[in-house]
Symmetry: C2
Subunit: 483 residues, 2 copies
């Protein structure tokens, strides 16, 4: 296996196509990011018509730089890329990330140019990222591929054939206090491809979970093998672009990739026991579940919420996602009944309770503890009504969320919080605030049960596929108690 570590921690970076105008896309996307991120290595803007760019000495070409450069960003016209690649070869460059578009995604002419560039690079032992990509994000090394993005390092490795989707994943995860170890936008994958990069992340000690947005596969057999290996060691969450006929047309125009058969793809993912998701938010929210939740022992969920109708829909959402909402046995209901007001409550699972329980952290703690204490439940989902917070002030929400986190932890069961927004702006604004509180106490937050159930089901599914004899408890304790 090749060690690609050097591409993530270059000692020097050149930006070919940097300009004296600080506001061009190239400067904003690459040069300013390096400066903002405090990249500790040497930075070389390259432009034959400039002597200084954003306070840095500019060089007319790669060959004029007084040392071999590790990482080159190429942001010049496609037609000039063979010449640049030759210069990179003779200057001893290690890797060139080609931001420039206009290669295989544009048709046969572009594909020919792409093959030419790769051929020059390979002969000269220069690796190519892209073309048509944003390259490397490695906060530890001071490299970033997105503007206004967190500098924090974490343990999620990200691969994305799309630069925009890479940014979206990094930003969405950072909002959930989850940070990337390394992320790569790899575009057309003409040289370094998804197999190379996944293999690297699979053995990277900084990476414990992997998220992938992919459009097509360059080396299907190798990728299948590596996907299976890596997924055996770390959770891999995959979003495939181009699952539909028109989507695969869009893929061809985007990265020149062949989207391939959906059935084959599904089979590969199934065999490799990866988690497949359908949209970007689902990928982000699923990674959130993997990062914040210990593996549940099975599919059985205990639900606590306010409102009979909301709880009916919560139950449907869980069961539709493949989870179970088992009825509590009489002893659990009796225990809950001791402190739950009798009128307008239901204790069958969901616990359909009242605002007065939520505004009293001790009562909420007791409710969570009793539910979590029952061996028939593997995961807890507790919903908080945002509009009650609008009405009564948010302190009880903060206290309640903390109480849930603590009670679940004491009982050794994973818990997710659903921030019920009532689908209106007021609720959504407060949910954005309360999401921070949830993450601060270590529980993942979802806006609705549909999403929470989907993500928890992915988490359970991953462990089911990985561990024979899992889930631990298969027996369904519900029927005995159904009336």
């Amino acid at each position: 296996m090749q060690d690609l570590g050097y591409i993530f921690e270059p000692r020097s970076v050149a930006i070919v196509g940097a300009t004296t105008n600080p506001n061009t896309v190239t400067n904003v996307t690459f040069l300013r990011q390096l400066l903002d991120f405090g990249y500790p290595g040497r930075i070389y803007p390259v432009n034959p018509h400039a002597t200084e760019i954003m306070g840095l000495k500019a060089y007319p070409s790669i060959r004029d730089i007084p040392e071999p450069v590790d990482y080159v960003v190429c942001a010049i016209a496609a037609t000039h890329t063979p010449k640049l690649t030759r210069e990179c070869v003779s200057a001893g460059v290690k890797v060139v990330a080609i931001y420039t578009a206009g290669f295989s995604e544009t048709g046969e002419e572009g594909a020919k140019l792409e093959r030419q560039v790769v051929s020059i690079a390979r002969r000269g032992r220069v690796r190519v990222l892209g073309p048509n990509c944003l390259g490397i994000h490695c906060p530890k090394a001071g490299l970033s591929l997105a503007g206004s993005i967190s500098r924090e390092s974490g343990h999620v490795g990200l691969l994305s054939q799309s630069g925009g989707n890479a940014q979206n994943m990094i930003l969405g995860l950072a909002d959930r206090k989850i940070y990337a170890s390394k992320a790569v936008s790899f575009g057309n994958a003409a040289d370094l491809n998804e197999s190379d990069l996944l293999e690297y992340l699979g053995q990277d000690d900084d990476t414990s979970i992997i998220g992938i947005y992919i459009e097509g596969v360059k080396q299907p057999e190798r990728f299948t093998r590596i996907l299976r290996q890596v997924s055996g060691a770390k959770p891999v969450i995959v979003l495939k672009g181009g699952r539909t006929v028109a989507g695969s047309g869009a893929v061809k125009l985007h990265t020149g990739a062949m989207a391939g058969s959906r059935a084959v793809w599904d089979a590969v993912c199934g065999q490799a026991r990866v988690v497949q998701v359908q949209y970007l938010k689902e990928l982000i929210d699923t990674i959130q579940a993997f990062v914040y939740l210990n593996p549940p022992r099975g599919r059985r969920v205990g639900i606590i919420g306010i409102g009979g109708g909301a709880n009916v829909l919560a139950t449907d959402a869980c069961e539709s996602a493949g989870l179970k909402v088992p009825e509590f046995p009489p002893e659990v209901r009796a225990e809950l009944r001791k402190f739950t007001p009798p009128a307008g409550t239901g204790l069958r699972n969901p616990v359909d309770t009242l605002g007065e329980v939520y505004v009293d952290p001790a009562m909420l703690t007791k409710t969570v503890s009793v539910v979590a204490g029952w061996s028939g439940v593997d995961t807890l989902m507790v919903s908080f009504p945002m509009l009650l917070g609008v009405r009564l002030g948010v302190q009880f929400l903060r206290d309640g969320i903390e109480a849930v986190a603590k009670a679940a932890k004491d009982a050794g069961k994973p818990a997710a919080v659903v921030l019920q927004t009532t689908d209106c702006a007021e609720g959504e604004m407060l949910a954005l605030e309360m999401q921070k509180q949830c993450l601060a106490v270590g529980v993942p937050a979802y806006w609705n049960f549909t999403q929470a159930a989907l993500c928890v089901s992915h988490l359970v599914g991953y462990h089911e596929k990985r561990n024979p004899g899992w889930p631990v408890s298969i027996a369904e304790p519900t029927d005995r108690h159904r009336n």
Copy 2:
């Protein structure tokens, strides 16, 4: 058919169970609402232990009120409801909305009590709403079933077996500038049931579209007939609670209803050509599509957005929802190419364009006009990247949204806007603000293509089922142009 109009516009309301403490649930939910809403009729708090409540003269019982009361809210213990119902009969009350829970949803004892109350009411020609319900919302008449809710009247009729879900629908729709004509929370449906209420909304001149949250059906044959009749005249969007085994258990505990077979329900909805949805936000967002969009002529969508990966996923989302994303013919692409920058753009559908097009309303207008002008597209979806607004200021977003609305209107094609949040709080906050701009210029706003495609597909599906020979254009113009 019975005319139930009188239950929505009572000349007087009594609240049985109002208290001197202004902050009890009963006072907050019912009495304060009437005062806040400026209910123009007479209000009678009823409580044997009070002489004045919230500034109003209180009466010891219904029979002590000096006039026959039209609408009585019952918020006293379940055991007292037979006595109250008898008093309502002798005092000439028209309808009693029983907020009190503890009836058939609690088991056989409660069911017996429920039958007793209904029997007394029917013999005495008093109609019952509920029990276990919030009753009537009719802003035109000054009646409301939710706190802090808009007083505006609109044209959406809402039926909900759950009071909480009724509130959620009203609030969520109001956020989209859509208002209820009438809404009813009808709980256990012991007397006035879903058939009575749907029949009424079907012929109500103030109601042009109907949303339903339902858990069980009291008179299946009658309901099937009425559902079919009403759906023939007005769009009916239905969310069924209790679609799963555990969900039907939750239903039984919530409203005492029998959720019934999902297959039978699906068949009934299919025959009645209603739109079935799976969750509450989908119901709200689908009603948004029906209210803001003229019926598209078919399933073909033209997509305009920024970012190759985002556009791939947008295409997949549309096709997965049953819409089509046909490739533009060469003449449309040539027309777009005239003013679209060549590098990093794609013009095959989606139009994958650049920020510089978005920040120039004239360019965006041209883009929309060319796409909308092609006969092969029935609906437009245009995404706006919120983070670009965070970076560049929101004015170009406002201008762009207005340009899209105008260009689509000029071309006579419906258009929906997708506010791309990048799944992070900053994007979501701005989306909440831009949603208002969208609605102000008459286009519906969605947070992602998954939801936009789902709702537009529901809209198209409704018209397909209703109009033989529809969609207008069945021929697929894509294959001719595929390369």
